[in-house]
């Protein structure tokens, strides 16, 4: 108790209390319970979102964070994808003529980019069509 206090006093906010720990753990567990998403589904969702985003920008995979959070009994998918650099126009898929509208996602299931080969490769577990079977 007292050492906790001293640690906080001298080391600043880096030391989390067990109360902080339990709150953040609970928030994540409850978000998953409420959404009823299996880790496998979360993983393939994560992979597909990354795949799409990586077509336009280069993501810093170190700082990547992808989680479910729950607030007032509503669940949100929180993705923090730090951008390392915006890809040159030549790298990016063709934009629509105005250049302002959101570009349409190309029909091909995957596009390969030389700088991100492993992320864009097809994975048998990531569903190719929207009718995912949610039954476990």
């Amino acid at each position: 108790m007292i050492s906790d206090f001293l640690e906080r006093l001298f080391l600043g906010q880096d030391v989390t209390t067990s109360r902080d720990d339990v709150k953040s753990r609970l928030k994540i567990v409850l978000a998953h319970d409420r959404a009823n998403l299996s880790p496998e589904l979360m993983e393939s969702m994560r992979r597909e979102i990354l795949e799409v985003v990586s077509r336009y920008v280069e993501i810093d995979t170190e700082g990547l964070n992808f989680s479910l959070e729950s607030d007032q009994r509503a669940t949100a998918l929180i993705a923090n994808l730090p951008i390392r650099r915006i890809k040159f126009e030549a790298d990016a898929p063709p934009l629509s003529e105005s250049g302002i509208e959101l570009p349409a996602v190309p029909d091909e299931p995957t596009q390969s980019f030389p700088d991100q080969p492993e992320r864009t490769s097809t994975d048998p577990r990531s569903p190719a069509n929207p009718d995912i079977d949610l039954s476990l």
Partner: protein, 265 residues
């Protein structure tokens, strides 16, 4: 028509039966007629906490089997004449009853009693389904611990799916000194995480065990302990009164803890 309120939690041993016994007694003391249903078939406890174990003759099962009238199975409390208990069978398992049958019993009791309180067993299986079948309202009991809160959240989801409209939260066994040392979630922490309205908080208190030993719920005694007061307040909030929450921190609010809070963040 009486109100049917189920006291439930998901996790076992968090204080459902303690709350059922005390809230039943407290509401009866406030001049309401109260029927308590023990829905924990096979592991009945409510008769013990109320000190009525020696007066149980028939149980809900005999009523449902047509072996006695509902009236005959009700154990009347001698201390508070408007309180009755419908005991659970001790020798049968939780599958001995169906949700339909529980509804029949509870609805019959609402004709005569202002409050029908149902003490739910732990878990989310058949016994739980039976206990919540007739309820329009629920009191969720939890302790400030990770597994109890997780189970409580699960139960809230199930109750919502069963169209139980009014769901209120009781946080039991709070230890203010641990909360102030940041080693336990506070009532507010738990309430924010579960996001259902708070109706009461009960401190962790040795008197709860003493009262259980004697079969005399806390709210019966003349000079309340803090936990007895907390339970009495919950009964009044169930009545619809606007009662301030107890400040459980007060006795622990030392200079040291104030200093600690000052240095925090």
């Amino acid at each position: 028509m009486g109100r049917i309120i189920v006291i439930t939690s998901g996790k076992g041993g968090v204080g459902k039966t303690t709350c059922s016994a005390n809230l039943g007694m407290a509401l009866a003391k406030l001049n309401h007629s109260v029927a308590l249903i023990d829905a924990d078939f096979g592991l009945r406890n409510l008769d013990l906490l109320l000190g009525l174990e020696n007066r149980v003759v028939y149980t809900a099962l005999e009523v449902l089997a047509g072996q006695c009238r509902l009236e005959q199975a009700l154990v009347k409390d001698k201390r508070l004449h408007d309180l009755v208990l419908l005991p659970a069978a001790q020798n049968r398992n939780k599958d001995a009853v169906t949700p339909e049958q529980m509804k029949q019993l509870a609805y019959a009791l609402t004709k005569k009693y202002d409050f029908v309180l149902i003490d739910c067993p732990a878990g989310i299986e058949m016994g739980f389904q039976n206990a919540i079948a007739a309820a329009d309202e629920a009191l969720i009991v939890t302790t400030p611990e990770i597994s109890a809160v997780r189970d409580a959240d699960r139960v809230v989801g199930l109750l919502e799916a069963h169209h139980v409209k009014t769901i209120n939260l009781i946080v039991n066994r709070i230890r203010p000194a641990m909360v102030q040392a940041n080693d336990m979630m506070s009532v507010q922490d738990v309430q924010e995480i579960l996001a259902i309205p708070l109706i009461g908080m009960i401190p962790d208190d040795e008197q709860v065990i003493v009262a259980t030993n004697r079969g005399e719920p806390l709210v019966l005694s003349e000079n309340f302990s803090l936990s007895g007061m907390a339970l009495q307040n919950i009964a009044q909030r169930i009545e619809g009164k606007d009662i301030d929450f107890l400040d459980l921190d007060a006795p622990y609010d030392t200079l040291f803890s104030r200093l600690r809070r000052f240095f925090k963040r």
